[in-house]
């Protein structure tokens, strides 16, 4: 018998089909009986009941009510009155008005007397009094003992292998509990909205009666449904939590009191076989730790504002939750936040696909619905003037860009100005750029009429109708010679933005259904395809008799979808308003010209579809979409849909889908996650619609703040090991989301001052581009808004190569550019100079003035380590050629802190004194002079043994020869013989701490292992140059490139690298920019 229940959709269809086949639509068949006033006679009524039954019911319920399909009527155990009532309210499926009154009574009498062998009570208000000798089983769930093929277990209660003889609870107790706790609180309050006739779940196996005093009937229905299969306990509790393909999604969560009530009721029904309470897990966030306010602010800033927070913002965030909220909201301004809004909106609306650089077309340049466009095209094509042609191209492209961005700019405009978010649908304006304003005859004034990215609110008055007033001349390119008035476009927010209509087009047979489907999902969070299980019955699927209107298997969705499709009635398959030939409608000619269609002159919508409606009929004709938009925003589901719309932009992952197959091993943990998330979404939605913390209603900035305050955003770890199920449940929660290509580009720019491949071309509509957001956007997991519409969530080998490419080409110029900046204006290296190496004990740079006679210079070198060291004099800024920059070193002397001389060397004696004069290629640096050493590259170095710490004084006698008007610079060093314990190490580690924080968001202590690891990497990279005699330049050979980015200029001086530290720091920036934590936030 379980099999019979499982085919209920077929049953519904078959009944409906029978009605159709027999011509029993309204006005036939049943009506004949209803109007037969002579049916008082019991025999006549029975005859009529039999006739009706055989004609309309037996196809499903079979001759003796045994029900091949549908409810087994020969086991009906309730009262005659309730059978009449159920017949009225449920039969025939899909057109219950066809059998009421006498019809229902006649059929019920026939069933009661013929199948159940019971007399009908004289007073139908008396309870039925079945004959105790009646052999018909009173338990409707008992199988038919005469049916040997019935495979269903005799006991419908969930099987418990440990309990061979489950004891059912007293039916009276169950009924009482139901009446007291379930009927009103659960069924009438929640279930009835869909699980009743003519509602969304009318094709389901569970149909209740709506109204009061129906507890008995509904309890019977519920208990029969429960008993019809052995897995109902889990299925029911799953479905109310949104699982198992529940069209109504989440209705009751585990924390809901009514959920517990329902669970208790099902346990009563199951009796002693009731399963343990394994349906609900513990608290979803048990053991999950949250990120600090600083970390939360940093992530939020990088995601929404494309930058790092400043110290004031950090301080505000650390002052408590209220401060963090303020700091988060404070991020929501400026150009990067605007771009974030545009990107996030486009991820859902995908209209950038119709931008000039997009994957599909928006508008033909000779589109005569837009006379300004078409006539400009005509004039430009007729002109030989290249400038005029270029101007038209700019107009056309600018318009396409403006139109593609208009819905996104509308969203941004509403959000940035903190207008009620409902305005994204109800705005009676659009956002225009100078080009779309021109095409739309809008009188908006712009700061820069050539700036395609300047958007201002305005209205669209640029379209005409294709009616008798329109005269188009076609001599070459079409030209609109004359036309009627421009229509006042009935703006309905983004719903009828031309680019939205173009991006989600319709067809003659689709009839705006795809648009309705889209509107339901994006703005009501209703997935119509999931709202009722789609029929899999081949006969339903092959039904050709306008099934969307007539076949219950289809109408279950179409009754919801088609009226909303009707609200789009004024828009044609592409995007124009009332584009039919007469300009009176948008109906396709395949319908209006079809002789068999029901079309009548003056129609604006299909007669064989449901009329426009949403939460009530929509009678307005010209602006039906405005009415729809208004009603959508008044619907509670709009705020839920808004949370869902923005969820992915903040969390970087889509919301959980409800699991569908209860047999899947992952079902329960996924259901737990779904339920927890839906609960939080609903809570956010409720507050969004009412105003967070007393704030304004529908303030999207506040919603984004609260989303970032949620555990879904802030979860950063667990305090205990997770079970396999919890691993699944928490799979979409918390930190370490892969940055999008756009976010990575902004993060890169925020940290180093420019993006990879960033360039500006004022002649382009969008003047600024960079590699991550353009050239490599889809390679790095971004979307093209057309074929690729979902962002990659995890990195692949190819994507990691793109990230590597970003770092390879950015890191070196980032370092050179930063060291080029004056101190305190550097982005990364404010406390570091390029002369500090891992072996540096002390360093000071001396400018040697151009001259011909040695003068005395002094430097103070602060030494922290005693023992064997070296004294090094290095030329920092050599130039090539005979006239290159050089220093003539007459002598130098080092004094210890007490003033005692440590060493003194005559320049010409450097070699014989035990020192070296080394160029970076291993050759000799400079040359010996008669009374000095001429140094034009490289360095002089000599071992020194230091016996005390403190300030050493170096006295240098020298003179210089400038080049390019720049004097030579000498760095004086005390260098250690190893890389540990030096002041260089301390300085470098301090810089590395800064970089760990800047690039990776890590706060490392001085003695942390991670810091030491990074220092070791730096030392190894530095030594590989230092030891190899690499040329002292960041571009030492063909295997090194350090090109200045757009807007920067690197001189040869800038690329000089006497201590190899610029190159080493460049590699460390490469190291940080390809770190896991740089790419994930």
């Amino acid at each position: 018998m379980a099999k019979k229940w499982n085919v209920s959709r077929t049953w519904v269809f078959m009944c409906a089909l029978l009605l159709i086949l027999l011509g029993c639509e309204s006005g036939s068949g049943y009506d004949e009986i209803q109007t037969d006033d002579s049916s008082d006679d019991r025999g006549a009524e029975l005859t009529q009941g039999q006739a009706l039954y055989q004609a309309h019911c037996a196809v499903c319920h079979e001759d003796q009510g045994q029900a091949n399909l549908g409810t087994p009527l020969n086991q009906f155990s309730d009262s005659f009155e309730n059978l009449v009532s159920r017949t009225i309210q449920t039969m025939p499926p899909g057109s219950t008005e066809d059998c009421v009154g006498d019809c229902a009574e006649a059929v019920s009498e026939y069933i009661f007397e013929s199948f159940l062998g019971q007399d009908i009570p004289v007073d139908p208000t008396d309870p039925a009094d079945p004959d105790p000798t009646d052999p018909v089983p009173t338990d409707p769930t008992d199988p038919d003992p005469t049916d040997p093929t019935d495979p269903v277990p005799t006991d419908p209660i969930p099987a418990d292998p440990d309990d061979p003889d489950p004891t059912p609870t007293d039916p009276g107790v169950i009924a009482a509990y139901y009446l007291e706790n379930v009927e009103n609180q659960v069924v009438q309050e929640t279930c009835i909205e869909c699980h009743s006739i003519n509602e969304a779940a009318q094709s389901s196996d569970l149909i209740f009666l709506a109204g009061s005093n129906l507890a008995e009937e509904n309890q019977l229905t519920f208990s029969q449904y429960f008993s019809s299969s052995s897995n109902r306990y889990g299925v029911i509790l799953s479905k109310v939590r949104g699982g198992s393909n529940h069209g109504g999604l989440l209705q009751l969560s585990c924390d809901d009191e009514n959920f517990k009530t329902l669970e208790n009721y099902l346990q009563l029904l199951a009796g002693s076989a009731a399963p343990d309470d394994t349906i609900c897990a513990g608290s979803f966030w048990d053991g999950v730790t949250l990120s600090s306010s600083e970390d939360t602010l940093r992530r939020a800033a990088l995601i929404t504002a494309g930058r790092l927070p400043n110290s004031d913002e950090y301080a505000q965030a650390q002052s408590g939750d209220a401060g963090l909220r303020l700091a988060l909201k404070g991020l929501m301004q400026g150009e990067n936040f605007h771009d974030f809004l545009i990107r996030a909106a486009n991820d859902r609306l995908l209209t950038l696909a119709v931008a000039p650089s997009g994957e599909t077309n928006f508008v033909a340049k000779n589109d005569t619905f837009y006379p300004v466009l078409a006539n400009s095209n005509y004039e430009s094509s007729a002109s030989a003037d290249p400038e005029e042609q270029a101007n038209f191209k700019r107009l056309w492209d600018g318009y396409e860009l403006g139109a593609a961005m208009a819905p996104l700019e509308l969203v941004a405009y509403v959000v940035e100005n903190e207008r009620p978010y409902t305005e994204v649908l109800t705005a009676n304006y659009t956002l225009l750029n100078p080009y779309s304003a021109q095409i739309y005859n809008s009188d908006v004034e712009f700061n820069d009429p050539n700036d395609a990215l300047e958007f201002k609110p305005g209205v669209h008055r640029g379209q005409i109708l294709n009616d008798s007033n329109t005269v188009i001349i076609r001599d070459g390119q079409p030209r609109v010679d004359s036309h009627g008035g421009f229509i006042e476009y009935p703006h309905a927010g983004l719903l009828n933005e031309p680019s939205v209509l173009r991006r989600f087009p319709s067809t003659d047979t689709n009839r705006n259904r795809a648009r309705a489907n889209w509107a339901f999902y994006e703005f009501l969070y209703v997935d119509i395809e999931k709202s009722a299980a789609r029929t899999t019955d081949p006969e339903d699927l092959a039904d050709t008799d306008n099934p969307t209107l007539n076949n219950p298997a289809c109408t279950v969705c179409h009754v919801v979808m088609d009226p909303v499709a009707g609200a789009f009635q004024n828009y044609g398959d592409t995007m124009h308003y009332r584009d039919a030939k007469n300009g009176l409608s948008a109906l396709p000619s395949s319908y209006t010209n079809d002789r068999e269609s029901e079309y009548q002159e003056g129609d604006i919508w299909f007669r064989d579809m449901l009329a426009p409606a949403f939460n009530g009929e929509i009678t307005e004709q010209e602006n039906s979409l405005q009415v729809l938009a208004q009603r959508i925003t008044e619907d509670d589901r709009f705020s839920v849909a808004s949370v869902v719309f923005w969820w992915s932009s903040i969390m970087s992952l889509p919301i959980h889908e409800a699991p569908e197959e209860i047999s899947d091993a992952s079902y329960l943990p996924k259901l737990n996650a779904y339920e927890a998330q839906q609960g939080d979404i609903n809570e956010l939605a409720m507050q969004f619609s009412q105003g967070f913390y007393g704030g304004t209603v529908y303030n999207l900035k506040d919603l984004l703040v609260e989303m970032m305050m949620s555990s879904w955003f802030q979860a950063s770890g667990t305090s205990n090991a997770l079970s396999e199920d919890r691993e699944l449940s928490l799979s979409n929660a918390g930190v370490d989301r892969l940055l999008t290509p756009e976010a990575l580009a902004l993060k890169t720019k925020a940290l180093v001052g420019f993006s990879w491949g960033e360039s500006t071309d004022a002649d382009e509509l969008d003047p600024t581009t960079d590699f991550l957001t353009n050239k490599y956007v889809t390679y790095y997991g971004g979307i093209d808004s057309y074929g690729i519409t979902e962002r990659s969530k995890e990195i692949t080998a190819l994507m990691s190569n793109v990230a590597l490419g970003n770092a390879l080409q950015v890191s070196c110029p980032a370092v050179v550019a930063d060291f080029k900046r004056i101190e305190n204006e550097r982005l990364i290296f404010n406390d570091m100079d390029i002369y500090i190496t891992p072996v540096t004990q002390a360093h000071e740079q001396i400018e040697i003035l151009d001259g011909s006679t040695a003068v005395s210079y002094t430097a103070t070198l602060s030494v922290g380590n005693t023992g064997d060291n070296t004294l090094r004099l290095s030329l920092d800024n050599p130039t090539s050629g005979n006239a290159g920059r050089r220093v003539y070193i007459d002598s130098f002397t080092l004094f210890d802190p007490s003033g005692a001389q440590v060493i003194t060397v005559q320049g010409e004696d450097i070699i014989t004194s035990g020192g070296v004069a080394l160029d970076h290629d291993g050759g000799t640096a400079g040359s010996k002079q008669s009374d000095s050493w001429m140094l034009n590259s490289g360095y002089l170095e000599i071992p020194v043994t230091l016996s005390s710490t403190g300030n050493y004084q170096l006295t240098l006698h020298a003179y210089g020869a400038e080049d390019e008007s720049i004097d030579p610079l000498i760095s004086a060093y005390i260098n250690d013989t190893n890389t540990a314990g030096t002041t260089g190490e301390a300085s470098i580690k301090q810089q590395l701490q800064i970089m760990h924080n800047l690039f990776l968001g890590e706060s490392l202590s001085n003695d942390s292992e991670e810091l030491q690891d990074s220092y070791d990497v730096l030392v190894a990279l530095w030594q590989s140059r230092w030891n190899a005699g690499t040329s002292p330049n960041v571009e030492a050979n063909n295997d090194e490139s350090c090109n200045a980015p757009d807007g920067f200029l690197f001189s040869n001086e800038d690329k000089k690298d006497p201590q190899h530290m610029q190159a080493t720091w460049a590699r460390m920036v490469l190291y940080f920019m390809t770190d896991y934590k740089f790419l994930h936030e």
């Binding site: 067809t507 699991p659 950063s716 770890g717 995890e794 030594q1023 190291y1071 390809t1074 770190d1075």
Partner: protein, 422 residues
């Protein structure tokens, strides 16, 4: 004194021993894939199989196909054992490939929704949660390959088994495959430096992965990055087989096929989905399907020619299918709407199971029940309507894939790949 000796004297040489991490040596670790290869060709939108591999002539009541006016079933052409529709210039395709082809007709896709149809066609069930056949194949045959699963925009549910890669512009592909190549010969950094840095990062990431208290999302993301990185040599190998720009296909679908086959050749890819759209012909069905089916047969022909030229044809299996089919009648716009009963086509070079058509639909394109024991429509007890899960189940067996964790609910197995049946 040369510099090295001097440094040695000063003790710098010992400092260099502080080199913390060895250079990566992934060159030796990359083992090109030489095993089986798998492609799906996803005819997106719903193909009209009545004008292709399940040809239908018109009935007394209905014009199913305009091309069939005046024809009877006896007039339908046949290539080997495979009847086909004389439509969209497909004779050459069927004549050439019939021996390499298994057609399974009368498959009930159980939906007329694109979203559900696509999911059903390529994952084998109408509920979310199962991986595509391609994802399953890539997971089991090449999970360690750097680009094991290529997807170009079609259905690609991975169910967490594996990650797919996308390639869409060849002009950028080379620099993606070889990010450290600057121009024709130079580099941005010495590769040894890059290797040193990557090795250090891998060591750091390994420590991070071993941390206590990570959330599943963190673990998964760390693992993804960790496994994505050591592929320099493999990706350079891929780059080495990419031909000159002038030899790159302009057609979007042919480009997908070309790149997939080059990935096969380089041994970095073992499975791919080719997204061949254009089949949703609600208006002007004959024109739309002519274009789409012509493109499809050209694509399949190209795949086999190019795979042969690149030396991978012998290892390749192709699964061709669609969301569902089109109605066996025209609508008012000369189009055809969605129809649930469609077909699959399997291809392999010189397949032992080729040159066969299994199952059928009736004259009105309704599904017929198939006997699992004989693969004949013989009305015997146990015959059942084919659903995608039956095709997936059989193909999984044929390709040696496990169904662990993703078992279908089918009670009957159909051994479509047993040449002795049907």
């Amino acid at each position: 004194m040369d510099r090295r000796k001097f440094l040695s004297m000063l003790g710098y040489a010992s400092a260099s021993l502080a080199l913390p991490i060895s250079n990566m040596s992934h060159a030796a670790e990359f083992v090109p894939h030489t095993g089986q290869l798998f492609l799906t060709v996803q005819a997106g939108g719903g193909w009209d199989v009545s004008s292709f591999c399940d040809p239908k002539v018109n009935t007394a009541d209905t014009v199913i196909n305009n091309w069939a006016v005046g024809m009877t079933a006896d007039d339908l052409p046949k290539a080997g054992n495979i009847p086909y529709a004389p439509f969209a210039n497909n004779a050459a395709f069927f004549e050439r490939f019939s021996k390499d082809m298994l057609v399974i007709n009368g498959v009930d896709m159980q939906t007329n929704s694109h979203r559900v149809g696509v999911m059903h066609a390529w994952s084998g069930r109408t509920s979310v949660g199962f991986p595509s056949m391609t994802a399953l194949f890539a997971h089991e045959h090449g999970s360690a390959l750097p680009v094991s699963y290529l997807n170009f925009g079609g259905y690609a549910e991975t169910a967490g088994l594996i990650r797919y890669s996308r390639i869409d512009k060849v002009s950028e592909l080379r620099s993606v495959l070889e990010p450290n190549v600057n121009g024709n010969s130079g580099r941005f950094y010495a590769q040894s430096d890059v290797n040193q840095i990557v090795a250090a990062q891998q060591a750091r990431l390994e420590k991070m992965k071993a941390s206590d208290g990570l959330l599943p999302r963190q673990k998964s993301a760390m693992e993804a990055y960790y496994s994505a990185r050591p592929n320099t040599v493999a990706l350079e190998q891929f780059a080495s087989v990419i031909p000159d720009d002038s030899l790159i296909e302009n057609s979007k679908t042919l480009f997908q096929a070309q790149i997939a086959i080059l990935g096969f050749k380089a041994g970095v890819t073992c499975a791919a989905d080719i997204d061949a759209g254009g089949f949703d012909s609600h208006q002007n069905n004959d024109n739309e399907q002519t274009n789409a089916l012509t493109n499809l047969t050209e694509l399949l022909t190209y795949i086999w020619d190019y795979a042969q030229a690149q030396g991978v044809a012998d290892r390749l299996t192709i699964m061709v299918g669609s969301d569902f089919a089109r109605t066996p009648y025209y609508n008012n716009s000369d189009g055809k709407n969605h129809w649930p009963v469609g077909s699959y086509m399997m291809m392999r070079k010189d397949a032992t199971w080729g040159n066969r058509v299994i199952n059928a639909s009736d004259a009105n394109q309704n599904a017929l029940a198939l006997n699992p024991d004989t693969l004949l429509v013989d009305g015997e007890e146990g015959s059942t309507t084919l659903h995608p899960m039956h095709i997936h189940s059989a193909l999984r067996n044929e390709l040696g894939l496990s169904s662990s964790g993703f078992a279908f609910s089918n009670s009957q197995e159909f051994d479509f790949f047993n040449a002795g049946l049907g």
